[in-house]
């Protein structure tokens, strides 16, 4: 589904990714772990097309298409979803209005008919309910006044509504208490654990992986994948630290 080959990327003039190669197939959940500054978040931003993140070498294909040639909204319509580490507050724009416009823009791009207000609200209510989020919160301005945990929960509600083929989740577990972690973990499994979908989980800690069991764990250090293993690698990292393994 996603093929990243020898990816090099700069932020400003600074090289961050230095030859990253990674392949995700449908039905797989991959976790990327690594020390601070290794390039984990940069990978998420490069894949979703954030301005200022410049690819200098390498290629990325998504279902056979050149991902790097697409605009951010085209990548979304193609089925890519980025769960933000720091979801952005947008005063004045209601969640519901924004999500409906976003979803219908994606559907239009794919040649599908738009969802009516009623149809959309039904989906939104289901997803909010499954993640224990109040419908009133969904009507409030995007992330404004939300706690850290509520913002992450909102990301998962958005993911449920948009129903992407590939989710890149950037530290979705950070800032969550134990109960919220379970709710979010269950959400990821429910929405994304399907034979036709894939997930790239970017995380610092093993604890989310207790709920969302990865098929592969990769260590990202200094802009490259330095080691790949199964779920047991995360436990090993938790025990021995990155220093030992990245070397």
């Amino acid at each position: 589904m996603l093929q990243i080959t020898n990816l090099h990327a700069n932020v400003g003039d600074k090289p961050i990714l230095k030859g990253l190669t990674l392949s995700l197939n449908a039905g797989e959940i991959h976790a990327i772990m690594g020390p601070n500054g290794a390039g984990k978040s940069t990978l998420g931003y490069v894949l979703s097309g954030r301005p200022g993140y410049e690819v200098t070498e390498g290629s990325v294909t998504f279902n056979g298409e050149d991902l790097l040639g697409m605009e951010p909204h085209e990548r979304a319509a193609a089925g890519l979803f980025l769960g933000f580490q720091y979801p952005v507050e947008i005063p004045g724009v209601s969640n519901v209005q924004f999500l409906r416009e976003a979803l219908n823009a994606q559907r239009k791009h794919r040649g599908e008919p738009p969802l009516s207000g009623g149809e959309f609200l039904k989906v939104a209510r289901e997803q909010a309910g499954a993640l224990g989020m109040d419908m009133d919160m969904l009507k409030r301005p995007v992330n404004v006044g939300f706690s850290g945990g509520e913002k992450k929960r909102n990301e998962m509600v958005q993911m449920g509504i948009i129903d992407p083929a590939l989710a890149i989740l950037d530290e979705t577990d950070s800032g969550l208490d134990i109960d919220a972690l379970r709710v979010v973990g269950d959400g990821i499994n429910r929405i994304m654990r399907r034979p036709d979908k894939a997930v790239l989980l970017i995380t610092h800690y093993q604890r989310l992986l207790d709920y969302v069991k990865p098929d592969f764990v990769h260590v990202l250090a200094d802009g490259r994948i330095t080691r790949t293993g199964g779920a047991e690698l995360a436990l090993e990292l938790e025990r021995d630290g990155y220093k030992e393994l990245a070397a």
């Binding site: 301005p51 951010p72 909204h73 952005v88 507050e89 947008i90 004045g92």
Partner: protein, 241 residues
Amino acid sequence: MNILPTRRDEAFRYSDIEALARLWPLPAAEHIVVPAGGNFVRTIVQDSGTIHQLDIAIGKGATAALHVLNIGGDYGRVELNVTLHEGADFKLGAVQIGGGIQNLEIVTTVTHAEPGATSSQIVRSVLAGTATGTYLGKVAVARDAQQTDSEQSVKAMLLDRSATANAKPELEIYADDVKCAHGCAIGELDPMGLFYLQARGLAPADAKKLMLQAFVAGVFEGASDEVMLTSLALQKLGELV
């Protein structure tokens, strides 16, 4: 005023004097007297490059609410001269949206002549291209006008680095027991917010439009022509993004 102003005149400091010369001499300002206890509402849509001048006297305990959408022509100006008597209330909700070479202005003088009057002015400008948007707003509080409560909230959003916003909330206060709030901010769209919206599937223009819609939202809330004003504003925003 019979002599064409120059840019040395404070009230015309940022004006398009050539455009003004073509419209000169201006017809007399419209005079409105709101009788004691009365309620006055007015919607002004400036969409053809004209100058609107209103003198409004608001009587004891009376209210006046104006909603202004300043969007049309190369040069458009809305000038309000408001006098509040005891316990009167004045509300202005104004949006100006300009692109290309447009020069749009809202110039107000709000005089609290007697005690206990309230005034509130909310002005939002969205400017693209080399457009100029100006708000000059003077609030004058007379010596006897104690318990005056006035507020000015002025914000401008620049869509291009070549656009200009001028904002000058001004206070002239001779009473000593008053509340006069004023706030002013000029900025550009948050790039991280735009990216967030695009990453969820909105095309760049639609993402900008959604954020700008939020920026001007609320100004026309409660206006009798709210639906018409909002849809005209959205249409104009759609032309700029």
